[in-house]
């Protein structure tokens, strides 16, 4: 291409190399690059990122070495062991089960479900926002009515009812049930942004030159609002951790034999546990708080990176 170009122009090879070098250095940096610069400029954000990535990796790997059924076996000798006794780092609960091990496996389950829920509900929400936002008219009207209806449903109650209906529910069905109800926020956000984006010239130009609608939606509009999508996905991940743990806390999430951060906090429902045996539930509660704060903080940093006027990591 470059040689071909050279044959028909007066620009020498050296000039061309210099020009393309200049063009490259002056080009807008990629989204990933901007986000990374933003993290480098903001030390607390870097700490949060390291904590989150390190913690998730630790939990995922460590839980591989824990035999869950064996861990969940009752051991009366360790009944409410204090932290530090009998070689149990965080003590034991009413069944003599190690709290530290439950915490690791529980975190893996809770984070795993939150990740799955985020992946499914965000994908669905993005589509449910892009399509009505782009087409408007009847399609928009119809899809908005579905959205309105879903907004009306009392979410927590519906999930609880569905969980009791499904005969053999496990982590996967649970994630699917949650996903039915948690796409509205994303959809609303993406739709309003797509509405604005569809009015822009490049969309009109693509339409005129005969690009198919689907291609315009997913190859042109979606990349242009990608920063919004990344921010929203991060923030909903933090929120979704609360969704599963909350339902498990009420007793309608993961079954009791499967540890989750929520079921561990549910230990606090017993007035004896909450006062005397604080180690059975407090670590899980603190962990959720730290996780949610760190993840949302990362989300805030990415949001800042997406908005050029607020960037701090500025090599511009």
């Amino acid at each position: 291409m470059a040689e071909n170009f050279n044959q028909h122009s007066d620009v020498s090879a050296a000039d061309l190399a210099r020009l393309s070098q200049e063009a490259k250095s002056e080009a807008t940096p990629s989204t990933a690059r901007i986000i990374w610069d933003e993290f480098k400029a903001d030390k607390p954000a870097m700490v949060a990122l390291v904590i989150i990535v390190g913690f998730i990796l630790f939990v995922m790997i460590a839980s591989l070495f824990i035999n869950t059924p064996q861990m969940m076996q009752t051991d009366i000798m360790n009944y409410f062991d204090k932290p530090g006794t009998d070689g149990l780092l965080l003590g034991a609960d009413s069944g003599g089960r190690s709290v530290a091990q439950q915490l690791i496996v529980g975190s893996r389950n809770s984070i795993g479900i939150a990740l799955g829920l985020t992946a499914i509900s965000s994908t669905f929400g993005i589509c449910w926002g892009l399509i009505p936002g782009y087409y408007s008219g009847y399609i928009d009207w119809g899809m908005q009515r579905v959205y309105d209806f879903m907004m009306m449903l009392p979410m927590t109650m519906m999930i609880i009812v569905l969980v009791t209906i499904i005969p053999h529910y496990n982590a996967i069905t649970l994630t699917l049930i949650f996903s039915i109800f948690y796409w509205e926020g994303t959809s609303r956000l993406i739709r309003s942004r797509t509405l604005a984006e569809s009015q822009k010239d490049y969309v009109a130009a693509s339409k005129t030159s005969g690009t198919s609608n689907l291609k315009i939606i997913f190859r042109e509009i979606m990349p242009n609002i990608s920063s919004l999508i990344i921010v929203d996905t991060t923030l909903s991940f933090a929120e979704n951790i609360g969704v599963e743990t909350g339902l498990s806390y009420l007793g309608f999430g993961l079954p009791p034999q499967t540890p989750s951060l929520g079921t561990m906090i549910a230990n606090a429902n017993d007035p004896n546990n909450i006062t005397q045996y604080w180690w059975t539930w407090l670590p899980a509660a603190l962990e959720i708080i730290i996780l949610c704060l760190s993840i949302s903080y990362i989300g805030q940093v990415i949001r800042r990176a997406a908005d050029a006027s607020q960037r701090q990591g500025a090599a511009d």
């Binding site: 009306m152 519906m158 009812v161 743990t245 509660a285």
Partner: protein, 319 residues
């Protein structure tokens, strides 16, 4: 404007109908029936069948649905199998409790959020603004039930300042004591709900105030020599008040949905706790009634907000 509101209400009708069908079918799909619990060696199977038949539990679903709807319009939501009491009376009793809690929570939320929002907007970019921003950020991220559990632990058990269960003390005899005890029981959950429910209002009010600060009418007022305090109180705050009032509808729905957690943690006998209990007893009639009530309250909440917004913002009216 009336046209917009009317259209909005007309859309609600099919939504409520679909919701009622959905709720009814889901309740029917739940495993077990209200009499499974009474099966024991002494129970006569024929008698149980008779009971099932008497309650119309063998009819096809659309017939049962139709009966249910007809009864609904007569104000009869059926009989609770668990409490042996008409559902309407049962829920009415619980609803008062939930409304007390939700209402008080709402008042506290606004009492906290309004000054904070104006204050943050007024001192944009300075220390108070940063503090309030961090506060809203923290309260927004942490799942509400974790806060409830920590709150009841610290203030209910460790310090013992607040009661940890129930809605009213058994010792309360005079009406003054009754009200006092009632108030005392909802104080902690309401404060927690308010502290952690201010985010939307604060952020909205803050950006309203920041926008208003740069608008012409404020500059004119400044030029006339109106004191800064009066500008905030009479000009900016007045203008932002109606859209903020519109948040009330959304706030109510948020608080109601949170009530399931609040009432479970504090063992507060409201509709949320009733729902959780009814689920474990498969008390269909109560479950369907509650989901329907919550759905309709959600609708009314959003309707209220939309109507206020339509009044305030003519652009919405045209759409």
């Amino acid at each position: 404007m009336w046209k917009t509101i009317l259209r909005r209400i007309l859309i609600m009708v099919p939504e409520v109908i679909i919701l009622s069908i959905l709720v009814f079918l889901l309740a029917k799909a739940m495993p077990g029936d209200p009499f499974t619990g009474s099966i024991n060696p002494k129970a006569d199977p024929a008698q149980l069948h008779h009971l099932m038949k008497l309650n119309g539990l063998y009819d096809p679903w659309y017939q049962q649905y139709w009966h249910w709807v007809v009864h609904l319009f007569h104000g009869n939501l059926g009989q609770s199998y668990q409490y042996q009491e008409p559902v309407t009376r049962l829920i009415a009793g619980r609803a008062t409790n939930t409304l007390w809690l939700t209402g008080f929570s709402m008042i506290l939320t606004y009492a906290l959020a309004l000054p904070m929002g104006v204050f943050a907007g007024r001192h944009e970019g300075k220390l108070p603004d940063t503090v309030i921003r961090v506060y809203t950020y923290v309260t927004y991220c942490i799942p509400f039930f974790v806060i409830l559990v920590l709150g009841i632990w610290i203030f209910g058990y460790v310090f013992g300042w607040f009661p940890t269960t129930g809605s009213i003390s058994t010792n309360a005899t005079t009406w003054l004591q009754t009200i006092g005890s009632r108030f005392y029981h909802i104080l902690l959950p309401a404060i927690l709900g308010a502290l952690f429910g201010t985010v939307n209002i604060v952020q909205y009010l803050r950006s309203e105030v920041i926008d208003a600060k740069r608008s012409d009418y404020v500059r004119t007022a400044r030029a006339k020599g109106v004191p800064r305090k009066d500008i905030y109180r009479h000009h900016i705050f007045r203008n932002s008040l109606l859209p903020i009032a519109a948040f009330a509808g959304y706030s109510i729905t948020g608080l109601l949905n949170g009530s399931i957690f609040t009432e479970t943690v504090f063992s507060y006998p409201g509709m949320g706790l009733l729902f959780v209990n009814s689920i474990s007893y498969r008390d269909y009639t109560v479950i369907t009634a509650l989901v329907l009530i919550y759905g309709i309250l959600n609708l009314l909440g959003t309707l209220l907000s939309d109507i206020i917004l339509t009044l305030v913002d003519p652009r919405i009216r045209i759409e």
